[in-house]
């Protein structure tokens, strides 16, 4: 593969890794709250979280483009702080990906936390563990598979993202030209050989990743009850 192809592949992986880390940090408390709250706000928050699943990426991308543009408060603040714009930049792609992939982090984690239930946490509290201690040392290990699933789905989904990236990031080599955009452009310009190389690479990568996850799940079943 040539340098531009490799750079778009690298950019995709880098974006996906960055997004996954941010989403695990933000999504864990959100999923924990959703799994345990008796609040009447829960369905509202759940619906908002699931929106990226059903909205066409172009719709999401369009609103993000508006929200991140230098004319918006957020975009203006970003320009003032960093000197660059959020739109058509790597930072903008990260923000967009975090929103776009949110349900892929939150939903597996929420079901994993629900499966853990109250019982082990009560046991931990009865042994003197404060809530954060109980979360880190009991709930999180018991929900380990949920974390694995969430991380893999988020990562893979971000790698495969297209519409939102196109709307928010455009097609700047080395900055926003991720692998899916590169494939699109090769096809547009009838450079099928290059398109094939990247597409096949992505296919093999996704398959390998998913198979590894299922193999791990099979090999290390968690005995929760």
């Amino acid at each position: 593969m040539t340098l531009p192809e490799l750079s778009s592949l690298w950019l995709s992986l880098y974006l996906a890794a960055f997004t996954t880390v941010i989403l695990l940090v933000l999504g864990t408390p959100l999923a924990w709250w959703l799994a345990r709250t008796p609040s009447r706000l829960k369905p509202v928050i759940e619906a908002v979280t699931a929106m990226p699943l059903v909205l066409p990426p172009t719709v999401l991308g369009f609103y993000l483009l508006v929200a991140l543009s230098p004319d918006s408060p957020l975009g203006r603040l970003w320009v003032e702080v960093t000197g660059g714009t959020l739109t058509f930049s790597f930072a903008g792609l990260v923000v967009a990906s975090v929103i776009y992939s949110l349900p892929f982090t939150v939903q597996p984690l929420e079901s994993a936390f629900e499966a853990v239930g109250r019982a082990p946490l009560e046991a931990a509290a009865s042994l003197g563990a404060p809530p954060i201690d109980a979360f880190v040392n009991v709930a999180a290990p018991l929900a380990a598979r949920g974390f694995l699933t969430a991380a893999v789905l988020t990562f893979a989904h971000t790698v495969g993202e297209f519409g939102v990236v196109l709307m928010v990031g455009g097609n700047i080599p080395g900055e926003t030209r991720v692998v899916s955009i590169a494939i699109y452009e090769y096809v547009e310009t009838l450079r099928y050989a290059e398109a094939h190389a990247l597409a096949a690479g992505l296919l093999v990568f996704s398959f390998t990743l998913l198979m590894a996850v299922y193999a791990i799940n099979r090999r290390y079943p968690l005995h929760v009850r």
């Binding site: 019982a119 082990p120 009560e122 046991a123 931990a124 509290a125 009865s126 042994l127 003197g128 563990a129 404060p130 809530p131 201690d133 109980a134 040392n137 009991v138 290990p141 018991l142 380990a144 968690l222 005995h223 929760v224 009850r225």
Partner: protein, 369 residues
């Protein structure tokens, strides 16, 4: 061990159920919270542990307030110095036995038993490296009990710890459970709907029904209360009495127990030392009465006493007769279930001298606290 005080004043409401308790309990040794399922026993225990927040009321332990609705005090469960053992053990499945024990020990704030002491007392040595899911039900509960003890609690709360076990496993774990309050000097509040367990373990019983406390008292006295029989009914009517072992007769395969001025022959119990206190359960239907000392009788256990009360058993041909045995010290009472016809024939009435003939005796516990 001086008694510690748990003051309870709680109202907990669940759909279709309300628990209202106002009791000042002096706790040492084993105190059972007994009642049918749905009577609110577990809810009460969970409120003490802090897993359940009462609508209003106050919970204090030796004057230290854990919950006070009026003062808006609600100490988080992990800050209350209680050990809570669950019906299903709730061992952490991602840790092995030793790690489960260490989890509790690492987090304890005050003093507590050494790990080795707990491991020895509960025979956990062979289990330390086992995964939790490979343990049997009885082993799991032993580990759970050990883990709870290692937390160093000043009050032990046991929520039906034997309910999930079959009879054989129960018999295996009972001796371990029995020794805990004395050995680890921790007063224990124990929820159970099994009257036999209560009879064997508890020094004191709180009887709960439909969310209200029916009575609180020493186990033997509560068991005797006829008005509570609809609740304690599954316990075959009888009494718990305390005697002292006098000696053994291996040839006849008997042991002798001093009781109420007389001596009872019981099945041989060689592992007990003479002088040791024993708790016996004598069922009312195993006691017959005679007005003169009988002779030429196969029943060996004949104890003299005085008839104190006769209570009718409605709609049957039976009555329950209470007999106070002769002897020094606190009075020992027996219950005899005899026919109304016998009462009339023998002209039995309170005040009458009688001989209690005891057909069989079962041991409930060998080391009353």
């Amino acid at each position: 061990m001086s008694a510690e005080r748990l003051s309870l004043e709680v109202r907990v409401r669940h759909p279709g159920f309300e628990l209202v308790v106002a009791e000042e309990l002096a706790l040492d040794g084993f105190t059972a919270v007994f009642g049918p399922s749905g009577s609110g026993k577990s809810t009460l225990l969970r409120a003490v542990a802090g897993f359940e927040t009462p609508l209003d009321g106050r919970i204090a332990w030796n004057g230290e307030v854990w919950f006070d609705a009026a003062a808006r005090v609600n100490l988080a469960p992990h800050r209350r110095p209680v050990g809570f053992m669950f019906q299903d053990g709730r061992l952490f499945p991602h840790l092995n036995v030793a790690e489960n024990l260490a989890f509790a020990q690492r987090r304890r704030r005050g003093a507590g038993p050494a790990r080795d002491e707990v491991v020895t007392a509960l025979d956990l040595g062979g289990l330390l490296h086992r995964r939790v899911h490979s343990l049997s039900g009885g082993e799991r509960q032993r580990v759970a009990l050990g883990r709870t003890l290692l937390r160093g609690p000043s009050l032990l709360l046991l929520d039906e710890p034997l309910a999930a076990l079959d009879r054989q496993r129960k018999t295996e774990i009972l001796p371990y459970l029995e020794s805990v309050p004395a050995r680890f000097r921790v007063p224990t509040l124990y929820v159970s709907h099994d009257i036999d367990e209560v009879a064997r373990l508890a020094d004191r019983v709180v009887v709960l029904a439909e969310g209200r406390v029916q009575t609180v008292g020493p186990t033997a006295a509560v068991m005797e209360r006829l008005d509570l029989q609809p609740l304690t009914g599954s316990f075959e009517g009888g009494v718990l009495v305390e005697g002292r072992l006098r000696g053994h007769d291996p040839r006849l395969h008997l042991s002798q127990v001093e009781l109420g001025g007389g001596v009872l022959a019981t099945p041989l119990l060689e592992r007990l030392a003479p002088g040791q206190a024993v708790r016996l359960r004598i069922r009312a239907r195993d006691v017959a009465l005679a007005t003169v000392r009988p002779e030429g009788l196969s029943i060996r256990n004949v104890l003299p006493g005085e008839l104190v009360e006769i209570v009718d058993e409605p709609e049957t041909g039976f009555v329950e007769a209470f007999v106070r045995l002769d002897g020094e010290g606190p009075p020992t009472r027996l219950r005899a279930r005899i026919t109304r016809a016998a009462v009339e024939d023998l002209r039995l009435e309170p005040g009458r001298r009688v001989f209690a003939l005891i057909k069989s005796v079962s041991f409930e516990s060998f080391d009353p606290h």
